[in-house]
């Protein structure tokens, strides 16, 4: 039984147009992987904008808004995958984008270290139940006092929820065999 948090919408090939990119996170050094985040996110955003031709001023404005939002969200999702994916090669990191008439949905998937599962799920519970504005401010103030540079985690999800009006949901797979690791799929759905 997989465990889901939030309203997880599962889209399959056939539910609109889609694009998927997959790679092994451990096959290249972190610095290069980080550069790939930006390239992949920009590619998704550029690719998507071809569906929203900016023929007049209003649609050019809309195209620019959508492109900017997808570029930001995809980059944050990929950064999270790189930061938190488990070093083993059981799971590829992937990012998928689905385009339907009323929404754009992004999914990223990565393996997760066993020790990370519980704290991550606790944070997810807070994201789903607490006031996002209050949580956002609390997290920024806490990050400012904490200089180890690791505490910025969570700001990606908080900015998406607070500034981009998206829905986020998570699915944790259940390993079918002992020794298999858990994969987490993150869904971000942006209404159009």
């Amino acid at each position: 039984m997989a465990q889901t948090f939030g309203e997880f919408v599962e889209l399959l090939a056939g539910d609109g147009e889609y694009l998927k990119i997959g790679f092994h996170p451990s096959s290249i050094p972190l610095q290069q992987r980080w550069r790939n985040n930006g390239l992949s996110a920009d590619f998704l955003a550029d690719y998507l904008s071809t569906f929203f031709p900016g023929e007049d001023l209003a649609s050019a404005e809309r195209q620019s808004q959508i492109k900017d939002a997808v570029g930001y969200i995809a980059n944050e999702l990929l950064e999270n995958c790189m930061k938190y994916s488990h070093a083993s090669k059981q799971h590829l990191v992937s990012i998928e984008m689905f385009l339907e008439p009323g929404a754009i949905t992004l999914y990223t998937s990565n393996g997760i270290a066993p020790a990370r599962i519980e704290p991550f799920q606790k944070f997810i519970q807070r994201l789903l139940t607490e006031d996002i504005d209050a949580l956002y401010t609390e997290q920024l103030e806490r990050n400012a006092e904490d200089d180890d540079g690791r505490s910025a985690s969570g700001m990606g999800f908080l900015t998406m929820l607070s500034d981009y009006g998206v829905k986020i949901a998570w699915n944790f797979s259940t390993p079918t065999q002992p020794g298999n690791e858990v994969a987490v799929t993150t869904m971000v759905r942006m209404p159009l």
Binding site: L30, W34, N37, G38, S64, Q65, D68, A69, G71, Y72, N75, E76, E79, K83, D133, Y136, T137, L140, E141, N143, A144, G149, R150, A152, M155, G156, L158, T159, S162, D163, Y164
Partner: protein, 129 residues
């Protein structure tokens, strides 16, 4: 990364005046009490330290008005938002400077996310044109 250091006064603490990278630039104009950020910031964790050091230095100078010019800042990831927030909290701690943040509507994220800085410092002026 190339950094330009000021050595005009050998007794003064060495000042970090600008950071130049092919993807992003940060410039501190001390006389105008202005920090300009441009380009795309997709750094991770510790990579923001030189940027934060420069911003902290500008905050520690405690000018009456401190301007953060982001009009050419195309992209900022959440770690970058976190870095700007640390700067704003440093200014708040000193309680000595008015902060003016200049942005551009050409980059839609700025209207969405920069207003969050006012949650940390309600007196912060945001000028997005």
């Amino acid at each position: 990364m190339r950094r330009t250091l000021s050595h005009s006064n050998p007794h003064a603490k060495t000042l970090l005046m600008d950071i130049t990278h092919q993807d992003y630039q940060v410039q501190y104009d001390e006389a105008a009490a202005t920090v300009r950020c441009s380009g795309s910031f997709r750094l991770h964790g510790d990579e923001y330290k030189p940027v934060l050091d420069l911003l902290t230095q500008a905050a520690d100078a405690r000018p009456a008005t401190l301007t953060l010019d982001l009009r050419e800042l195309q992209f900022l990831n959440s770690s970058g938002i976190n870095t700007l927030s640390k700067f704003v909290l440093q200014v708040r701690k000193h309680g000595a400077s008015q902060v003016l943040v200049q942005g551009s509507t050409r980059f839609p994220w700025q209207e969405k996310s920069l207003k969050n800085l006012q949650r940390l410092l309600p007196a912060l002026r945001l000028d997005i044109v």
